[in-house]
Symmetry: C2
Subunit: 81 residues, 2 copies
Amino acid sequence: MPRVCVDVMLKPEILDPQGQAVLGALGRLGYDGVGSVRQGKHFEIDVEDADADEAVERVRAMAGTLLANPVIEDFSVHVAT
Amino acid sequence: MPRVCVDVMLKPEILDPQGQAVLGALGRLGYDGVGSVRQGKHFEIDVEDADADEAVERVRAMAGTLLANPVIEDFSVHVAT
């Protein structure tokens, strides 16, 4: 049963307040030298009765329909390693 | 400036109600053949003044301190491709 991962991120031109909050917290904790932080969602989906290529295609359709909002988010799909 | 990704997921033994809600919604939308869905967080962090190996080490420390709760979450770190 292939496991397929989807990463959903806000588009680069959309403000990411969660990422900025993390960036500020890292600075306060002493982690310097961080240029930017963006936060998004990560899904791990087990697809039944499919090979890896078919599973990626099916998950790509799910991502475009339900997992991401294509107006403000980009997503990428890959097989889990 | 290397970009490092962190995936933070609930440990397998921890109930994931967000993932279960997505699994239910996929079924209602007609996407059959999905065995399980787990939802987590995905961070993309730009690290300044470091090569890829050093950037991964620095981000691994950030993830263990701030990005993940090691009691209930696992994380993985990799360089963005």
